[in-house]
């Protein structure tokens, strides 16, 4: 069987790229997914959507994505539970405040309505915060949160409605290039595709290697948990770049929270007791009331990382595209990034310059310095 475009990976990135390709009129698109849409990092993520970045390009990708998220439920025909309760970013040091001042003026210049706020103002937004635990904060009311499982599912379903073939339980195990086509071996037979997209998330490196391309990505476990639902306490995401913690109450009432930890590169997605102790200590120091909440479940997923924690986007060898290495922010920039990737694949000039994110930046030593990443 042959297709014009084959996407490896049915996470939010792969499904959204396929959806955008079909939306722009591309026919014969297939997504190969080893398990099912949402089985990878997307279905395990915190799904926070933050526009408060320190680099113009990231601000633009996030801002563009928020505009898409705002109408995505109606565009895709599934309620993805996108809520704009804002992001409250805690500052613990004077140095952080200096950085946040720079960030906020950049963000404001790009139409992102963030602002520096005092401890008292922060307490008005989240009365449960321990006022001793931070010295100022930034707040952006249009940041938010969506349901990642439903978002991934919605993109897959909408892509299918536009004619994309989403092949679940289909693992790609080998790629051979001959006469300008890619010949794929999968657990469900052989396929030929004219153009190939690597959106394999945590497994981006082995997938690129199948095509004979070496990319400097690696994976890292990140753990997360959910509490029993409680009546609404606050609407925003609370995060700290110092401890790497983030906590958000989802519409159904549970809190979802995670924290950055020192991890070796691996494909390990087991849960650990150490994580529970670590996050308990950090969360109760900024939000003491959490002592009373109950943990229902913990799990883990992979961050796909690069040397500068920014993604690699673009064509890395003729007909072979990558959208990988999203670290801890691939969900929030997925809508805009997928639109740009679809344009690149179709030879349309995108409206945001993403040449900084090309693979050759690592060879040239032009790494990106983004001051505001978690983990």
């Amino acid at each position: 069987m042959s297709f014009d475009v084959g996407v490896i990976g049915g996470g939010v990135i792969g499904c959204a790229i396929a959806y955008n390709l079909a939306k722009f009129g591309q026919k014969n698109v297939v997504v190969f997914e080893r398990q099912y849409p949402g089985a990878g990092s997307t279905g395990r993520c915190g799904a926070g959507v933050r526009q408060q970045w320190g680099l113009e390009m990231n601000c633009r990708l996030a801002r563009g994505s928020v505009k898409i998220f705002e109408q995505l439920s109606s565009e895709l025909g599934v309620d993805i539970e996108f809520r704009q309760g804002g992001y409250l970013v805690l500052a613990h040091t004077e140095k952080q405040i200096e950085q946040f001042e720079k960030n906020v003026s950049l963000q404001n210049s790009l139409g992102i309505p963030s602002r520096i706020i005092t401890v008292e103002e922060a307490l008005e937004i989240v009365p449960y915060l321990n006022p001793e635990s931070f010295i100022a904060a930034t707040f952006c009311p249009t940041d938010g949160h969506a349901n990642p499982l439903l978002t991934n599912y919605a993109y897959a379903k909408a892509a299918e409605r536009l004619g994309v073939k989403v092949m679940k339980f289909t693992e790609v195990s080998g790629v051979e290039r001959s006469n300008g086509v890619f010949k794929l071996t999968t657990s469900r037979g052989n396929f030929e595709v004219g153009c190939l997209v690597n959106a394999a998330g945590g497994y981006s490196k082995p997938v690129a290697a199948m095509v004979g391309v070496d990319i400097p990505t690696y994976s890292e476990r990140h753990q997360i948990l959910v509490t029993a639902p409680v009546p609404r306490m606050f609407d925003c995401m609370v995060i700290s770049f110092t401890s790497g913690i983030y906590a958000q109450q989802v519409p159904q009432g549970s809190f979802v929270l995670g924290i950055a930890e020192n991890e070796e590169p691996s494909y390990n997605t087991n849960s650990s007791w150490q994580f529970l102790e670590h996050i308990t200590y950090e969360v109760t120091s900024i939000l003491p009331v959490f002592g009373e909440l109950s943990i229902v479940r913990q799990w883990a997923g992979l961050y796909n990382k690069t040397p500068d924690s920014q993604p690699i986007l673009g064509e890395v060898s003729p007909g072979f595209f990558v959208a990988v290495g999203f670290s801890g922010h691939g969900f929030m920039i997925a809508p805009k990034t997928a639109e740009i990737m679809a344009k690149l694949i179709l030879g349309i000039k995108p409206d945001i310059d993403i040449s900084y994110l090309s693979l050759d930046r690592f060879e040239k030593g032009e790494l990106i310095v983004e001051p505001s990443v978690v983990g």
Binding site: G38, L149, L150, A228, L276, E277, S294, R297, W299
Partner: protein, 93 residues
Amino acid sequence: MKGSDNDIIVCRCEDITLGEIREKIREGLTTTEELKRVLRVGMGPCRGKSCVPIIRRELSRMLSLPMADVLPPKDRPPVVMVKFKSILEGSEE
């Protein structure tokens, strides 16, 4: 429609009916993991004790699969709900 059992609530934690589960199976979801992720069935405090057997039976029936091939979703820690407070107290000991 015959005395419909579609209104039966299968997942009490998340208030999901048999009808909603059947609809998603018809839309192409074929595993308990997928149903859990899309409908939240089995994600609540009871950890799927009551709903998972019913969902497996429904998948088996609608997709004509032997029960043994319809696996329950992955069990995740902690085994019982635990308060952050008790973890704090535990680690101070």
